[in-house]
Amino acid sequence: MKKITYLKALNDALHEEMRQDDKIIVFGEDVAVDGGVFCVTKGLYEEFGADRVMDTPVSESAIVGGGLGAALAGQRPVVEVMYTDFLLCAFNEVFHNVAKWRYLNGGQFEVPLVIRCAEGHSFGAGGEHSNCFASLLMHAPGLKIALPSNPYDAKGLLKTAIRENNPVIFLEHKQLYQQKGEVPEEDYTVPFGQANICREGSDVTIVALSFMVGRALEAAEQLHNMGIEAEVIDPRTVAPLDMDTIYASVKKTKRLLVLEEGNLTCGVGAEIASRAQAEVFDYLDAPVARIAALDVPVPYNLTLEAYAIPQTNQVVEAVQAMM
């Protein structure tokens, strides 16, 4: 199978879906003529024209609200909010309007809107360009939230997102854009709410999100050399969240560690740990462990940045302590 980058996978998904349905429109800051600051929308403007691919002013509230309105009136917008961090400029629109419009209006409207954002730390991007906000977004019933960790999932999840009639926040990780992986040439989708068991193991379950899946897999390899077999699970979407796959794994391994790049307090891992202890308490041989970013804004200095963000060796040490 052909290996392509996560970036190319996303770009291919957009091209292929836009060819199928002319109600799909794309807009955001620098997405048209320039093709996006991360190049995800490259070539769309040339192929689909100014009617379907549009640059916007620096106006996240108008991008998100405009996307919602266009979706309510029958279009299928895929809007880009360059950095997840800037989504907070439109948090009202996301939390109150995008997430709630269908429910508060008696289910009359479908909301086929995708909001794409780039998240995560990236070599000194600093405190307002490095955030991972999945946990904030999970607090808004009505949203679906996808975070692909590899090129195959990036393409398959984005296709599912575009075909969804519910609003989707699609979180791409900046450090994954250049990662290569096998992606089929033929059309496929990856369903929401179905976790991926990235590596099977019998001794500990590591649930990891987005870029942290790679670190979990590195840790699992090191643990294997020490005689510990880790099972690595990537939920792929946190809303819906496939807890059944996690429960089944924990029943087998008896240990659970949740790894994420967002801040520790009230993180995604807190939710997963809470649900797991309620559901599979009797199977656990150790307290649920959590590794997340330190509770500080991400520092600019590279040493401090690396100290704030979870590293592979921390995962290895945490698992050793659980055994």
Partner: protein
């Protein structure tokens, strides 16, 4: 005469129906029939009635918390309006959204957001969809003088203008943002002055004169419907009731309010149409009686309607 009798009778009837819906809502709320809060548009009916009279069926609309009765002008029955106010299952939101979420997808009525003004960009998105559809639809965004101070209004105005979207910004300036008078929050004489910053044409209408609103919006709609981009109308009126029902309005002078009562939009229209020989007392009495009967039936319908049940609480959350 400039207008047909048929047009004037329809406009008058719509105006009176909106007035009577507002009155009925005040009455039902005072009788404890609604939960939550209502924000009466009593006295401001000429703004939405006059503007809505310029609409075509393919146009879409976003109302405000103060123009609840205007949903009757965009395909929602008075039965549904009162059922929504009472949180009943027969309302358009099935008891979930309440008074601020009266919508009709099939009639292009999208509702509003309870975080006022933050929904104006949604109306801009609707305009984008209407432009792409190419059927001549225009997105009407109603908002108040308070909401236009929120950032999203300015982002939406800017985006709509640079994209030349078919959209009309209709500002119902009732001069108060809850307790704060407009003079304390607006650094320019008129909200219409803001339009120049976005290269939009604007007009100022007497918000207590339904025909003046109709005429000024019509002038702007020629520009909007020709594909030139958005426009803004400011309708100057006065909030006759409190911000919410129960507000004692201790923050303003009764004399000023009483003076505005003299300019009541329904009485003015009635006087004018009587002078022009369009209406007589008998016709007025008949129109009013018919609306009263309709609203009494609607109230009864809402009262007798079932409540949503707890097993339905997740319905509509996801498609």
């Amino acid at each position: 005469m400039k207008y047909s009798k048929e047009f004037l009778m329809k406009l008058y009837t719509d105006l009176v129906r909106c007035r009577k819906i507002e009155e009925k809502m005040i009455e039902m709320y005072a009788a404890g029939k609604f939960p939550g809060h209502i924000h009466s548009g009593f006295g401001e009916e000429a703004v939405f009635t006059g503007a809505c009279a310029t609409m075509n069926p393919q146009d879409w609309m976003k109302q405000t918390h103060r123009s609840i009765s205007s949903t009757s002008l965009k395909g929602v029955s008075t039965k549904e309006i009162f059922a929504d106010c009472m949180g009943k299952k027969t309302g358009t939101s099935k008891g979930i959204g309440g008074v601020n979420h009266i919508t009709s997808r099939e009639n292009g009525l999208i509702g509003l957001s309870g975080s006022l003004g933050c929904d104006i960009s949604i109306a801009a998105g609707v305009a984008l969809a209407l432009k792409r559809e190419g059927k001549g639809g225009v997105s009407y965004a109603f908002f108040g003088d308070g909401a236009q101070n929120r950032g999203p209004f300015h982002e939406a105005a800017n985006l709509a203008a640079v994209w030349k979207l078919p959209m009309i910004f209709v500002c119902d300036n009732n001069k108060f943002a809850i307790t704060t008078p407009i003079e304390k929050t607006l650094p320019v004489p008129n909200i219409a002055d803001r339009a120049a910053a976005y290269g939009m044409p604007s007009r100022i209408a007497d918000g207590n004169d339904v025909l003046d609103v109709y005429e000024k919006v019509s002038e702007l709609m020629e520009y909007v419907r020709a594909g030139n981009g958005p426009a803004l109308i400011e309708c100057k009126t006065y909030r006759m009731r409190g911000h919410f029902e129960g507000d004692q309005v201790a923050y303003r002078s009764k004399e000023v309010t009483d003076a505005w009562a003299e300019k009541d939009c329904v009485e003015r229209m009635e006087r004018r149409l009587k002078e022009e020989g369009v209406l007589d007392d008998e016709t007025i009495a008949r129109i009013r009686a018919e609306i009263d009967q309709e609203l009494d039936e609607a109230e009864r319908f809402a009262e007798e309607s079932p409540e949503p049940t707890v097993d339905e609480i997740y319905d509509g959350l996801y498609a």
